[in-house]
Assembly symmetry: C2
Homo-oligomer: 301 residues x 2
């Protein structure tokens, strides 16, 4: 039994005529008669009662007609489900992200994507930079929201900038520098610093070296922390101050003050990365949602 048999039978049963059904199906009448007979042979019962004035449904045919329609309906739905995936209206995407830099963008993007493609499930993967890039390369991830990586790590991938967060100084509210509108590097270099763990965040320490080079003085790291929350807790406690991107204000709440740094080092570039090739429609919609979110004004510094 094939869907063709069902399509043919349903048409004959609805028009109650082989001739008219053949016309509608764009086949010759004998071909249609043959297919119907094959179907009847396979099912072991005549579905149609032929008389010289057309046909009528047999007992078995009357039972089979709604069943056959249901099968065809179900088959059409199955095809539609795949086409919905192709159009990015259904399915699943795996999105990798770096938690702290995307603390502002990720929730808004997820929300926008939910409106754009309500049928697509988003699975989030909180991973390190290397794991994010590896996941993109081997196909486990469809796209990532993260800090702009080194250009040489971007083989076959495309980065799209969404937002830049200027680097700021995080201070406990009681700290004298917190009264200033902005902090100058020469003031900062004398302060005890809290930093990210050197082994986990080498690029953060490279940034610090760059930042303080102009002062000609050595800076002093009094504590290293392996997470944003720990860094902020250290700063809040008065242990020291930290250089952090402006987006950190969302995590900091009111417990820590952020002040612009002068001269400003390179801002933190956050955006999407995905493969240049073979991007699913759903993933493209996610990119679109992210772009729309980025158009909105940034959070006040």
């Amino acid at each position: 039994m094939e869907l063709r048999h069902l399509r043919y039978f349903v048409t004959v049963a609805e028009l109650l005529s082989f001739t008219r059904a053949a016309t509608r199906l764009r086949v010759a009448q004998p071909a249609l008669s043959r297919q119907i007979r094959d179907l009847e042979d396979e099912l072991g019962a005549p579905l149609l009662v032929r008389n010289s004035r057309g046909v009528r449904l047999s007992e078995a045919g009357a039972v089979f007609l709604p069943e056959a329609k249901a099968v065809l309906q179900r088959a059409a739905e199955a095809a539609q489900a795949v086409r919905a995936v192709v159009r990015g209206e259904r399915g699943e995407i795996h999105v990798g992200y770096a938690p702290t830099p995307t603390v502002e963008l990720l929730p808004c993007t997820l929300h926008a994507f939910q409106n754009l493609a309500p049928g697509v499930r988003v699975t989030l993967h909180d991973l390190s930079t290397e794991e994010l890039l590896r996941g993109l390369h081997d196909g486990r991830l469809d796209l990532c929201l993260m800090v702009r990586p080194e250009p040489k790590a971007l083989r076959g991938l495309r980065f799209e900038l969404l937002r830049e967060y200027p680097m700021c100084v995080a201070l406990s509210p009681a700290h004298p520098l917190a009264k200033l509108k902005r902090v100058v590097v020469e003031q900062l270099v004398r302060e005890p610093l809290v930093a990210y763990t050197r082994s986990d965040y080498p690029e953060y320490h490279a940034m610090l070296v760059d930042l303080f080079r102009s002062t000609g003085q050595n800076y002093r790291v009094v504590a290293e922390q392996d997470s944003a929350s720990a860094l902020l807790a250290s700063v809040e406690s008065g242990r020291g101050v930290a250089v952090v991107p402006a987006c950190m204000s969302i995590l900091a709440g009111g417990r820590v003050r952020l002040r612009p740094l002068h001269p400003a080092p390179d801002a933190l570039a956050v955006g999407t990365i995905c493969r240049v090739q073979k991007l699913s429609a759903a993933a493209q919609k996610f990119l679109q949602a992210a772009r729309e979110v980025a158009k909105e004004p940034a959070l006040p510094t």
Copy 2:
């Protein structure tokens, strides 16, 4: 898209291997690859991701797999529904009947058939003898429960005797003859008779002529009624007595007495009739139910 494509895809998706799926499907592997590719082309998306170590489902494939299984399942159910009709486990039969002669057998047979074939709907048709036979011939009726017709009316039909009801005399309880164990024809011929309408029931009147021939006397019909209930009402009122089959006792209740007639005329033969050819399995089961009912002891006279 044909069911073949779905069968092939489901097998590959479950074995995650073209080679093993081809073996199971009893086709060569290239033929299978080709069919899957045709399906993918039609749906507009790859369903399987091929790598040199077997295959895995793509996004679209993961969505399509349960859909395809559902279609195949539904198709199998459709075929099973027809086979259930063939086996007489499902469907509908049209049963014609003569109400009064089958007053005992029909309810019991319906009950037995309900147990034998619960999935079959029985549609009853209360028709005259001629209409019953015509309905059988042109296929509107599958079988009938009725009085044995003339042999010449049985072209292409088969009668099967279920039960014989001896002819009795119906008397009002107050009637003098009601005190007797049985009524002799010579006694009966002097009584005023209530009969069925001559035009509607010629065979009934033929029976009366036969019955009284031996007495050499004329019988006297004082009223004609066109239904069993009217006949019984007339008898109950004392208008006259009637010759009726023993099964009439069920309709009569206690309002009328039935007494055997001596010498007994031919009993009323009640049974099934159906076409010799093309009897559906459900109709055969109905016949079987009727036979089982007939095996039970008859009602006491």
